[in-house]
């Protein structure tokens, strides 16, 4: 699709021809993830996580559909039906643990994918829209995960719903009516549970739609690569199939082994025990924590403790939303023409500090709102915003990047011409 040397699709059978003239779907697949899609030949393992994310989306959809056959979204029955799945439904325990841990692993995969993009500058021109569509997927994932967590109607479900919809009440005037409208009541109740179930079922398909758009946008310039250097000649690429189907395939299996091991041996390690207590609207658990993938944002939310023009609560909510919305502007905040962090000595250092900052925020998010955690989350929040708004624009001005390789093939093959010939074209 993208490069002149991409192999055109040629149907091999009569039937293939017949279909191709009527519905060129096999042609599209061939050009998207088949032999007709040339990919930089130097991709490392960090590039496996996009496909892996797609695999987890599928796992979530399949396990989710079967769970919905047993789950009951009434406030009196939701908790019991979840326990029923765990105890009585054939392999129900497996399906639910697979779904719950699948969500966590989906986030692990997506976070690695995002940090890959951050380090290798994948968000830079001409892939800004790929990055932004990815952020849309991420936002949809967060909404889906939140609503899914409410469904078992345990204590953490209920109070998570209360606290998260409470964010909206921070906005002046419209806030409280908006919250009541979202919940369909004054507190999470039947109306809220049923609509969360409805939307939780819908969202993955919306995500799948955005993923299709994202893949489409990606295939215009093609994948980025660890050097960040543009593809120049046929020598720089390999056809997606069989090279990357094989590499992705083995990596998916390897990663699934970790996922399956956690699902079978530590199924509750990533959850919270309080969610095995049925929701009680009159008593809050002593210590409310969201799921691990929200911890850094929860820390940002709680970092604001003093009123300054606006109430502290509104600042916290605005900062939390801003911390994600900011990422949409990243392609224009980091102006360095060099994509890959490998060739950016200063960027590399600050990237590591940034990772440490996210981890710090994550720890603060799970700790109770007491000193020193409040102070540390304030420092962490300040640094988070400084990284994007001050540090990145500055280092793209100050830094002297290392010399870039002439081409992808030169960088990987050290001049061994025979090896750098495209698949099937090497002179014997």
């Amino acid at each position: 699709m993208s490069f002149a040397w991409a192999k055109p699709y040629e149907p091999k059978t009569q039937l293939g021809h017949w279909i191709d003239q009527r519905l060129p779907l096999p042609r599209m697949i061939y050009g998207a993830v088949g032999g007709g899609y040339p990919v930089p030949r130097n991709l490392n393992y960090a590039w496996n996580f996009g496909v892996l994310a797609g695999v987890f989306l599928m796992i979530q959809i399949v396990t989710g559909i079967v769970l919905a056959m047993w789950y009951n979204s009434g406030i009196e029955t939701a908790f019991a039906s979840t326990e029923h799945i765990m105890r009585d439904v054939n392999a129900g325990w497996f399906l639910r643990y697979a779904h719950a841990n699948g969500a966590s692993f989906f986030f692990i995969v997506v976070y690695i994918h995002i940090f890959r993009g951050l380090f290798y500058g994948s968000y830079k021109a001409p892939r800004e829209l790929v990055w932004m569509l990815g952020l849309v997927v991420y936002l949809l994932m967060m909404a889906t995960a939140f609503m899914g967590y409410v469904l078992p109607w345990g204590q953490m479900s209920y109070w998570g719903a209360q606290v998260i919809t409470g964010f909206f009440s921070a906005f002046p005037v419209v806030g409280e009516p908006l919250r009541v409208w979202l919940l369909g009541g004054y507190a999470p109740d039947q109306a809220a549970l049923t609509r969360f179930f409805s939307l939780h079922y819908l969202m993955p398909f919306v995500i799948a739609g955005v993923v299709i758009l994202k893949t489409w946008a990606l295939h215009i310039p093609g994948s980025s690569n660890p050097t960040g250097v543009d593809v120049k000649t046929e020598k720089d690429t390999l056809p997606f199939h069989p090279f990357y189907t094989a590499k992705d395939g083995w990596f998916v299996l390897a990663f699934l082994m970790v996922y399956v091991a956690v699902t079978f041996f530590l199924p509750n390690a990533l959850g919270h025990p309080d969610n095995y207590i049925e929701a009680n609207p009159l008593a809050t658990p002593a210590h409310i924590v969201p799921e691990w993938y929200f911890w850094p944002f929860y820390a940002i939310l709680r970092a604001f403790t003093v009123d300054f023009i606006l109430p502290a609560k509104l600042w916290g909510v605005l900062a939390m939303f801003a911390s994600i919305l900011l990422l949409f502007f990243l392609p224009w905040l980091d102006r360095s023409p060099v994509r890959s962090g490998h060739y950016r000595p200063l960027f590399k250092v600050f990237f590591m500090i940034f990772i440490a900052d996210i981890i710090l925020l994550g720890i603060c998010g799970v700790m109770p709102a007491e000193q020193p955690w409040v102070f540390l989350s304030q420092i962490g929040t300040l640094y988070y915003f400084a990284h994007f708004l001050i540090i990145l624009p500055l280092i793209s001005k100050l830094e002297k990047p290392l010399p870039l390789p002439d081409s992808i093939s030169k960088s990987v093959l050290h001049g061994e011409e025979a090896e750098s010939a495209p698949y099937g074209l090497a002179k014997a």
Partner: protein
């Protein structure tokens, strides 16, 4: 085949307006069709959006009556109103004095105990049991629970401390615990809502 030039009757009609006011019949039809479409979309969108609002049965739970006779001095109960907890506390004289001793102008949400209770019934503190930060239920109703640094209520979620008048004193909550609309039906019964 030869084609015969024939004036299109529709076009002719369209152009007929030109000499008069510049409005073609087609313009009128366009505007009418689009307006009709917009009104139609709006008419369908409204119920779709509005169905999300609280239904009639939830609104019907809008008021409850609570009997106060069993709440001894210094004790509190939780009632449930609109599916949310309401704290009803019978303040002791010491707690009332403590609340009145505070300089109101130094508070985040400046309200005196008198403004938060009914005249002559300053001992009955009725508040929502919903933290004004993000909506957790504060502790301090049941004896032995953490009452926070100001001897009122404490919200465990993000550490908001409320005083004996249910006013925010420390922590992230922006306002005092909300006093719902209520009235005394007689000396020992209140109606909330």
């Amino acid at each position: 085949m030869a084609t015969v030039e024939q004036p299109d009757p529709l076009l002719k009609e369209d152009n007929a307006g030109d000499g008069n006011d510049g409005v073609r019949r087609r313009d009128f039809l366009d505007i009418a069709a689009v307006s009709f479409g917009v009104v139609g979309v709006g008419a369908v969108a409204f119920p779709l959006v509005n169905q999300m609002a609280p239904p009639a049965d939830v609104m019907a739970l809008a008021s409850i009556e609570v009997d106060l006779t069993n709440i001894a001095e210094g004790q509190a109960i939780k009632a449930s109103w609109r599916k949310q907890p309401v704290f009803i506390r019978n303040l002791t004289q010491a707690e009332i004095d403590e609340a009145n001793a505070v300089d109101v102008s130094g508070l985040r949400d400046k309200e005196s105990l008198a403004e938060r209770t009914k005249e002559g019934k300053a001992n009955w503190l009725v508040t929502m049991g919903v933290c004004t930060h993000l909506g957790c239920v504060p502790t301090g109703v049941v004896t032995g629970e953490n009452k926070g640094d100001y001897n009122g209520y404490f919200c465990p979620c993000h550490g908001s401390h409320y005083d004996t008048a249910g006013r925010i004193r420390k922590g992230p909550a922006p306002t005092n615990l909300v006093v719902p609309e209520f009235e005394f039906l007689d000396d020992s019964t209140i109606r909330i809502g």
